[in-house]
């Protein structure tokens, strides 16, 4: 099989969705989603608004409970008890659309909070590593600032550093650039690209098709809670024969042009 030849098939699955179903009361949001993410892979999830992308992502770290199906993280089914979920969450980083930095702590305080409070690391070593991570996202000089004094793009980069401080095996991004002014989107995507190049396993919900095309190993298109296409970005984003995929892509291209206008 050609899959074996490219070597990636040998990498273990870090994350497997197996027929994941989620409904709010009567309304089905996810209708049997199945796909997997291998170690080191970058998978972008795209799809129209309300298609269930955020819900899918939030099921991975148990912020949302699903109704049926299975999610396997590093080979084991997600636990249901809060206590064991907390342990799984230590290994899964999440970046939110609205950053969700802790406003009562400094930038560095945000980054060391997880390692110190959750992993029980010493303050000194957590700070040293926190500063390294801030340097990595280009914000070492802001360590003593409060999040409110940072631009949106800077806040999101701190949020990425905060997630990385836990040394996660998997990073989840839920529209990490959607709340940003257009001129700040690039700096955050830049950090994400760098992470991808470092070999981080990433599951990214995004509307940035250009980014998906350049960085993703695979793109999954979600529509009305179903995977309607999945594969390498060139296949899915450029040559899809599926009319629903084409319709969605036309929609985004049009949106994209709107969003880009103020940049010039």
């Amino acid at each position: 099989m050609s899959m074996l030849a490219n070597g990636e098939a040998l990498a273990p699955d870090i994350l497997v969705f197996d027929g994941v179903v989620k409904s709010y009361g009567e309304a089905p949001v996810l209708q049997g989603v199945s796909f997997s993410v291998k170690a080191g892979e970058v998978v972008c999830v795209v799809g129209p608004s309300g298609s269930g992308k955020s819900t899918l992502l939030r099921c991975v770290n148990g912020l949302e409970k699903f109704t049926a199906g299975r999610i396997l993280f590093e080979g084991a089914e997600l636990p249901t008890s809060e206590r064991s979920l907390a342990q799984i969450r230590q290994r899964i980083g999440m970046v939110f659309q609205h950053f969700e930095l802790f406003p009562h702590m400094t930038v560095l305080g945000n980054v060391v909070e997880g390692p110190v409070q959750v992993l029980g690391e010493s303050k000194a070593s957590a700070r040293a590593r926190g500063l390294e991570l801030l340097a990595k996202v280009g914000l070492e000089s802001k360590q003593h600032e409060r999040p409110a004094n940072l631009s949106g793009g800077q806040q999101q980069r701190v949020a990425i550093a905060r997630a990385l401080a836990m040394r996660p095996d998997l990073m989840l991004f839920d529209e990490a650039t959607s709340a940003l002014d257009p001129q700040m989107v690039g700096e955050v995507l830049g950090v994400m690209k760098q992470l991808a190049d470092d070999g981080m396993t990433m599951l990214i919900v995004t509307h940035e098709m250009g980014f998906a095309k350049r960085v993703a190993d695979r793109v999954v298109v979600l529509d009305q809670g179903q995977v309607i296409a999945s594969g390498p970005p060139s296949d899915v984003l450029e040559n899809s024969a599926n009319p629903r995929v084409r319709e969605f892509l036309q929609q985004v291209r049009w949106d994209g042009a709107e969003a880009e206008a103020p940049r010039t």
């Binding site: 907390a86 969450r89 909070e113 409070q117 959750v118």
Partner: protein, 223 residues
Amino acid sequence: MNFLDNLDWSVIPSNADLLWSGVQLTVVLTFVTMILSIIFGTVLAVLRVCGYRVLSWPSAFVVNFFRSVPLLLLLFWVFYVLPATTDIRLSPFLAALVGLSACGSAYVAEVIRAGILSIRKGQREAALALGMTRSKAFLRITMPQAVRRVIPPLATIWVSLFKDTSLVSTIGVADLSHAALSVRAQTFRVFEILTALAVIYLLLAYPQAKLTDWLHRRLRVEE
């Protein structure tokens, strides 16, 4: 004859000792009540939002009960009804403390609950996503932000509680009002005494209001 010419302000200095002990009692009563109210109010608020109905329902009942009963009635109830119906016999001071704290705790609980609920859901989720347990997320992330937000309303409760302590004079606690009213009864200098009483309450309340404003500024966090 001019009303003002007839005033005799000397009743104030000549009863200064009595008034001063009233001031001390009022201040002590306010402080102790506020401390108890913050402790019990916080506990009630946390029980209310903890997500377990067996805990939140009783808490809601207690809070709404003590918020609905007029403080004066509560004081009478603790001081007169409780000893008549049970073996519990409290001194006027303790009865005052119980009544005021019950009422204060209910108000504080409501304010703190509102503060907790005002913290965005995303903050808690970000904490959980780091792997914190629910209690740690609450203690490290939700509560510290809520506390900063509730300082202005708590200050308002504090100052109105300080003034409400005047009601305890009705059950014989020798607070500032009680002292002033007994001076009035002895001297019949109604205008002088009541004016002095108002001025003393004002002088005492004003710095408290200022102090809480200052605390509020110090602790404020930009979102």
